[in-house]
């Protein structure tokens, strides 16, 4: 590193750490140094701060440097961010020579002892860097946002994937289930949290505060969310629940005309919307834990609940139908596209058996190239050990549902005594557990 750069770094550290002490005026000299350092372009400040963080600075001083680095990052535009990601990937990787030495030792004697230094040399330096950035106040949420930016950038620059692997690795560790806390969301929840809930609801979008209250406040409704201590009032995932007397087959009554039935009379809990919130946490799984925990919470509060079931969209149904995977599909898709069934009950009744039959096929037989169920929501719930219980058509007349699924919905059933066996069968050989109503359609 050239002498000029060193001086700049020193100035930065001095400027940053000399002025930290709250409530004291910085000395004139410090101020000048600060101004000089902060006048540099954000990208330059960020790169310098990263170098400082990886250098022999004191642990405590790192907090201030990390803060400066994240501030500088926040001032970058898309091009600047891309440059930074490339720098992270290229400058803070691993040392091939060191890896080769460590591997040679391991290769000669592959033991637990020789694995330790190999692991240490193989871990990219940027993992350490990210951990050090995380010491700044509020850093965790900003790092999650940084990864969201990265995922965005990767659409054009897939060669940033190695950097993403580091984020994924760290986040899986930081957002471990053991660190999450579940919290009920209701009408006495702080408004800023409710506002986030509204913004993040994408399965059945909300039109505003009245809509939120209609779904949240009646005695037969429940919302639950996971929070992480380091990301404060940011919900990481949330689920919306309606308590009913039977398993619903349409979403509209739930969204628009809630009956404020007493919750104690309900025997069914319907999970009708599950939303992940932070794009930057892609791949960190919360949903299965949340459903399991909510089942436990509701069972404890309302022992009369017997059935835990979803009312879920089928976002891949229209595309599958259009793909012509099934010989009957083309004709049906054409009829459905006409849309007469939407307003004509007779027409809907006429099409219903055919739609149900193809829907049953879709959920039980349609597969991706890798053999997983073609429907992404199905992958989630079946992977959790739920059963595909009943197809519902027409279940959702919203534009979005008609476009993606011709209005089709489905219930997945969570039966605690069967979850584990169904999960295992699904993982072992892809077996889709089905409910009696769905089987009846298949056997027609």
């Amino acid at each position: 590193m050239a002498r000029a750069k060193l001086t700049f770094l020193n100035d930065l550290v001095q400027a940053i750490t000399g002025n930290e002490r709250r409530g004291r005026s910085p000395r004139i000299a410090d101020e000048a140094a600060t101004r000089t350092a902060l006048a540099r372009p954000a990208a330059e400040r960020l790169a310098a701060a990263c170098d400082v963080l990886m250098g022999r600075i004191g642990d405590a001083a790192r907090v201030a440097i990390a803060e400066q680095a994240l501030t500088a990052y926040g001032q970058l535009d898309a091009a600047g961010r891309l440059g930074f990601f490339q720098l992270l990937r290229d400058r803070f990787g691993a040392d091939p020579a060191a890896i080769r030495r460590a591997f040679a030792a391991y290769d000669a004697s592959p033991t637990a002892e020789t694995l330790v230094p190999l692991f240490e040399t193989v871990e990219p330096a940027r993992q350490t860097l990210l951990r050090r950035l995380n010491t700044a106040p509020g850093a965790t949420l900003r790092l999650v946002q940084m990864r969201a930016d990265l995922l965005q950038a990767m659409r054009k620059q897939p060669d940033l994937a190695p950097l993403d692997a580091d984020f994924a690795h760290l986040f899986a560790s930081w957002f471990n289930r053991g660190f999450l806390r579940i919290q009920r969301i209701d009408w006495s929840t702080p408004a800023d949290v409710l506002e986030k809930i509204m913004r993040y609801e994408s399965v059945h979008p909300m039109t505003g505060w009245q809509d939120l209250r209609r779904r949240l406040d009646p005695a037969d409704r429940r919302f639950f969310a996971f929070f992480h201590p380091a990301t404060g009032n940011e919900p990481l995932i949330f689920v919306e629940v309606a308590l009913t007397r039977e398993t619903p087959d349409r979403i509209a009554p739930i969204l628009t005309a809630p009956q404020a039935a007493e919750p104690v009379e309900a025997d069914t809990a319907v999970f009708y919307s599950i939303n992940n919130t932070l794009a930057g946490l892609k791949g960190v799984s919360f949903g299965n834990f949340l459903i399991k925990q909510v089942v436990a919470e509701l069972s404890a509060e309302l022992p009369s609940l017997k059935t835990f079931v979803t009312l879920s969209p089928a976002p891949g149904f229209a595309a599958w139908l259009a793909s012509g995977a099934d010989p009957r599909a083309a004709d049906l898709a054409a009829e459905l596209d006409l849309g007469a069934w939407i307003h004509d009950a007779g027409e809907a009744a006429r099409l219903k058996p055919e739609v149900e039959a193809l829907a049953a096929t879709y959920f039980t037989a349609a597969r991706t190239r890798s053999g997983a169920p073609r429907d992404p929501v199905a992958r989630f719930h079946l992977g959790n050990g739920a059963a595909a219980w009943r197809v519902n058509w027409p279940g959702d007349l919203s534009d979005n549902s008609i476009r993606q699924a011709h209005g089709l919905m489905i219930n997945y059933l969570y039966e605690p005594a069967r979850i584990e066996a169904q999960h295992e069968s699904f993982v072992r050989d892809g077996t889709v557990a089905t409910g009696a109503p769905l089987r009846a359609v298949l056997e027609r």
Copy 2:
């Protein structure tokens, strides 16, 4: 894995996951399975649960298995724990063949892309296992205790060190500064937390609740601790502070006769006891962050504070003196061992210059083989960027201090404007920053 074992594992999973649902009676069959599974020895249950955790079990079911594993671990004796640690090291390591393959690819083209699979194969499987164990409620504290057991076991079995490397790696990530919260400890703190504070105070042990209150409650005293969300009310480190009008040179007045001076009149904050609490967090550094944060908190609350200083023990002084490293040391040690100075002020006055001279040498020149200061407390504070400000003799007449340090104490000065430069000099070439009083002794 033999068929019998598989069946047992299945029973275990069934037994465990089938009975989880709160508030429901397990069915008879489940009960029998549970009893059978739970009747196995703890070591066997633990090993089986670890296998299940690494298998294709659903994420959510892992919580219950992890809980069972930790319970079984808690039932092991020392021999059982040793066996488990060896199993962790040997069964949940890495796959040499996979590593060789991944290395070959990396070696051919050492890029960020080829590093990713190499990192994944090199990371020992037990890191994943520990992360999965951590999903159980309250698991984090139990894993910290598990590592404390491991460190204990390593005294006789140093070949467990590779396993310890994994704990250290994970804990450094989980106990990141960004996840800690500082909290003031006072007389309105919950009693169970105060009890832990009492138990963990080892620098100047407390004799009971009255003693605690005497140190904690007066207007010129402050305690601060770091907590982690996942370990609840367990203080991870805490510092005891006295607010004074000048830098104290003896510990007794602070411990036994606190003047309840108004804190606003104080200009000096004395950090007179810093305690790490959990042996299992060895190597995870909190102390520097805590001191920095407490300086910030106190500065904000009491702007009149000008000086932040410790009153610290010198635990290696007696041993160094006895080692004959300095030609004057043998004679002095002999005289100090006589103990006349303890009760005879004249004798103390006579010895004082010599003790101070050797103490000054000890703190500035005595080194370990690796070149670090010989005194462990000095290593901590100098490494944080503090200066060795003044030696105090006699400073502490407790048995412990007389045995370890002939009663010697020292003040380390934390001067915010100099901390970073002093830290850097210390790290670069081992320079020990000194205060005017210490320099005066050196120059005598």
Copy 3:
């Protein structure tokens, strides 16, 4: 009391107290008794419960009876409530014979000793009854609502005033300043509280959540409210504050185009809306305490604030002008009613001196029959010791303000050093403290 009634009362007590134990099924016999008792009309149940509450029932059982009484009250219609108020007034008064005896003893020897029994006989029994009703969970808010109903009923039945005196007496004691806690209201306040704030804002009504957020959330805004522990999340009074660089003369910029200036740059705190919320707390004064407390809170948070001032409506100005109290008033009122000034700046400029002159007269000289300032808002602020500082015209172009005040607004200045003297002058001889701008108008 007839035998039949006694039996009914006994049934009621038995039914109520026998079934209280949570989590137990009532015995069959109890259920029948309960059903019989609860089948009586609400008015009858309420009257019976009041009798029971005043009888020799155990203290603890009173909680359940009070609960039943308040439930029955909640089922009454307006006529039923009127009947209940009359019953309260007539059946739970005082005993004339006992009063005469106690007075005779006092009259013979008017000492502190003889005053005690006189006070006890003179206190209406309904005060005891209200205190006993208040033992039920959540009772306080329901009693406040009961008084709101009473005030409503008194419009037609002024002879209920004696009952109102008891409510007023008790509420003054229960809602003592010492029991209130101030709380800042912001965007992280629970949504149900914010919803109440929106509903209760009547000075400058809000149009919805976006409007609320615009007023509440920017860095240069503050809301504060008083709460009482027994009425939970119900704000009793709240004030809306804008932090500015000078004293504003129009409300529109504050309501519609908030500049998110940094609060630290502000030197002026503008109290632009103060709302009492619960009609049932009429006559219990909170506003003066709240303003004083908010001045203290803001001064502590933002030492740069120098000026504490209101921007207030003048709700009686139009009526006073129309009353012809001033010879110039009739012509001016006629011109203002034409409304040309609203959209024609030249016209407004032409009328401005005359409006200001009459406004100045209105605030300083217009009096009610009892000699108080004619403007109700003026009575509040001047009574608190504020000064009428400056008249602002046109200050508010809302329909409401144009109707009540031809768009006139006024600033009242709270100058801590003068508040007490100005309050005293105002109370002693009605002196209205004025500010320099207002005096300049008067002296034109």
Copy 4:
């Protein structure tokens, strides 16, 4: 009031209110005035402040004056307090002429309307004064302490009773059940609250923190307390509960050798110590509410609990025995005084029938002059509707119990279904409800 006095009062008000604004330096002139005013003797300042509080000072300014008054009160010695109480009684009473006028109007037409002004003139001015003192921060607890001082003073000056009537009247209103909140006390309760619990425990005094923890922390123990929002962390009353498998007959096992049985196995909750804490709240009844509430809380938490019973002292038994009220008593008392039974089981067995017989008589037949049970603890529990269930001898070998009750204890049974009927019989004609074991003794 003389002119000089008026000036002093003005100075006081100016001094006090001019300096309130936080964070501002008082002007020089204010400082001098403050010093002059504060240099007056406390009694003089207190009397002046009371006059100011009753004068035409602004509501908000009262907070500061009330604060000064309470501070001055705190500086008085016993003589000063006595003087202040007399001043309160004599200067802040009622106006005989006004009372006579109001009575004349009432006497002429004794209606609800004429009662209102009579009530207002009869209420002593000091009630208003106390309400105004209560506006200061933390005033409520200080007023409770003031009444404790008053009760102390009344031992020598019974003519202060009228003042006490005002305190009693206000406290009954302020400490209404509806304002109290119950809270469980356990080992995670703040230490300052636990310290108060230890200090206030007088039935079975605690020897320190270990003793507290032994009673509080095991899984089969519960403490509950009432708190009031205005007295913060001060427990007003608390009860200590042991969960057992049967009704205990001796206190020692409960106090010294707690079995940490699982609470779920218990079928009996034993209330073995109930303590009121603040002497100044004499006559404000909490105990019955607390027991009722604790029964509800425990029933909800542990549905297996069937029996709610006390293990209570009999503090008047020895005195009653010594009083010779029963012909057999003198001989028995003499034998008991010998104390041989304490260490000689045979001797205890010999005396047991006779002690039990007299104890049964004591609880069921011994009465005060006014007809109430002679034992004060019996009056409390029987008045709550409990039954005298079983006498236990020897039940408590502590010095205190031997001195007051020759070691006798008793269980009172709270049977929810019978509480109300037993309460009513007790209030109506003094009927003492008894349990089968006690009746067996009576019928021997």
